[in-house]
């Protein structure tokens, strides 16, 4: 009934070897047919790479970090407000926060950036007074706030309900207990996921580049893209990419370490 095992193993081995041979041959053909000097020249031209410095750090990377920091700070304030509204005893607050979160998590970030950066100033003239830089920050904060709100809410709900009862039983108000007892414990739980949000935001700042920017407000992606056009060479974009990785990979590593270290 179970005979034929040896024949089957032999067949599987033959299939595996065939696959290796075909894939290796294709890779070899690709390697040989590629014009390597051209690839290196267009992606990793040392002179063009050198020409990016120091401005790619002092202007572009700096702007990326400024966008990220401001967007994150604004987003955190929005997220905390929305998380508290979401668990409020007032139904209107819960409903409002629920819709806010659903809408801005449901829209593509690029659409929201264009909507806030270009659409709103058309509809509401007052918005024209806000510099494009700040419109970008607002758009990032609005969207990242919606994502972080759910993270913060989950952190609050992870704190045992007995903590709130103990606070209340000592005469502290709901707000005092939330501020002194619940949130400090929730923050510890949500630092790793918030670090991940921060990493996402570093990358998402690249979308700001669709809004018109001045030389002084270029962030990494815009810097790289403009470089591609200027030099007819992709090296500036590759350098920008390496800088992104230098920021995101260590942070992701740190977040993973913190997650792993939880419960110690």
């Amino acid at each position: 009934m179970f005979a034929g095992g040896i024949a089957k193993a032999r067949r599987e081995r033959a299939t595996r070897i065939t696959t290796y041979v075909v894939v290796s041959a294709a890779a070899l053909a690709l390697l040989i047919s590629t014009d390597w000097p051209r690839v290196f020249d267009k992606l990793l031209n040392p002179e063009i790479a050198a020409a990016q410095f120091p401005e790619i750090l002092t202007i572009a990377a700096r702007n990326t970090l400024i966008f990220t920091a401001l967007g994150f700070a604004g987003g955190f304030v929005i997220a905390l407000t929305m998380a508290l509204a979401r668990i409020s005893s007032v139904k209107a607050y819960r409903v409002f926060a629920g819709w806010y979160i659903e809408i801005f998590r449901g829209l593509p970030l690029l659409l929201t950036i264009i909507l806030i950066g270009q659409g709103l100033p058309l509809a509401i003239p007052v918005f024209r007074g806000i510099p494009i830089f700040w419109r970008g920050v607002i758009a990032l904060a609005v969207v990242t706030g919606a994502y972080m709100a759910e993270t913060i809410r989950a952190g609050i709900e992870a704190v045992p309900p007995g903590q709130m009862e103990a606070g209340r039983s000592l005469g502290m108000t709901r707000a005092q207990t939330m501020g002194f007892i619940i949130l400090p414990q929730a923050i510890r739980v949500i630092i790793p996921p918030l670090t991940n949000e921060f990493v996402l935001l570093i990358k998402d700042t690249s979308l700001i580049s669709v809004l018109g920017v001045t030389v002084a407000t270029k962030e990494l992606t815009r810097w790289g893209r403009d470089g591609v056009i200027e030099f007819a060479n992709a090296t500036p974009l590759v350098v920008a990419g390496i800088i992104y990785l230098a920021l995101t990979i260590p942070l992701t590593f740190v977040a993973r370490r913190m997650e792993g270290g939880k419960g110690r």
């Binding site: 045992p160 007995g162 103990a166 039983s169 000592l170 005469g171 502290m172």
Partner: protein, 245 residues
């Protein structure tokens, strides 16, 4: 004699589940009352209604003569005067023992750091754990946690202490140290209402035993009567079960 707790015709439902079905219950100043009964009888809910951790469905609850249903009654002030000790301790996990004892003193009673520290030290000495005052809750045993929880409640200078099954979550060998602290409080004249399964405490420390079953008070009186010579069939059955006779 002053009634510190006066409850009339108290009903409490969770959705369709009626947990308290018309409770009349009062406690005199300095009295030590043990509330006993099978699980699900509503004992803990009764206690939690006293300091409004649960909102009652109907009925009247007066604490120190103040009607808690009165819109002018500041429940936070009432709770500050009613010490509560929970089955699962509920120490603030992110704060040291000292901070556990001082935070509400500072935020609610507006005491100075110095005064709050002094009171915290005094109460940690009372529960015999002064050497643990700088420890964090996760380094303490269950019995130590519960003694800290008692010290935390005492630091608010409460008029009465409510104990909600304070020894139920403890390993058997740690029960004694918590009961000893409760006994000391009773001897000092503290008003105590304890929901408990500790028959020794009910028998020898309390002035009155209240037996609850199925959301009502079935029988109450001095421990020498309720525990030794129960009148109601349900009380008899419960005592037989719990004493293992």
């Amino acid at each position: 004699m002053t009634k510190v707790i006066e409850i009339r015709d108290l009903y409490k439902s969770f959705g369709d589940l009626e947990v308290l079905k018309g409770i009349d219950f009062s406690v005199d100043r300095g009295e030590v009352v043990s509330v006993i009964g099978p699980s699900g009888s509503g004992k803990s809910t009764l206690l939690r209604c006293v300091n409004q951790l649960e909102e009652s469905t109907s009925g009247q609850i007066k604490i120190e003569g103040y009607d808690t249903a009165d819109p002018d009654c500041d429940m936070d002030r009432v709770r500050a005067k009613v010490g509560m000790v929970f089955q699962h301790f509920n120490l603030f996990a992110h704060l040291s023992v000292l901070e556990n004892l001082t935070i509400a003193q500072r935020k609610v009673l507006r005491r100075s750091d110095e005064e709050a520290h002094e009171i915290a030290h005094r109460n940690m000495e009372k529960v015999g754990l002064l050497d643990k005052i700088d420890a964090y809750p996760n380094t303490l045993s269950g019995g130590q946690k519960q003694r800290v929880a008692i010290a935390r409640a005492l630091s608010m200078d409460p008029d009465m202490m409510l104990f909600d099954e304070p020894t139920s979550a403890l390993d058997p060998e740690l029960v004694g140290e918590v009961l000893a602290v409760m006994r000391t409080l009773a001897e000092e004249g503290m008003t105590i209402v304890a929901v408990t399964h500790e028959m020794e405490f009910a028998r020898y420390v309390s002035d009155r035993v209240v037996f609850m079953d199925d959301g009502v008070i079935v029988e109450e009186g001095p421990p020498s009567e309720v525990l030794v010579n129960p009148q109601n069939a349900r009380t008899k059955k419960f005592l037989q079960m719990i004493l293992g006779d």
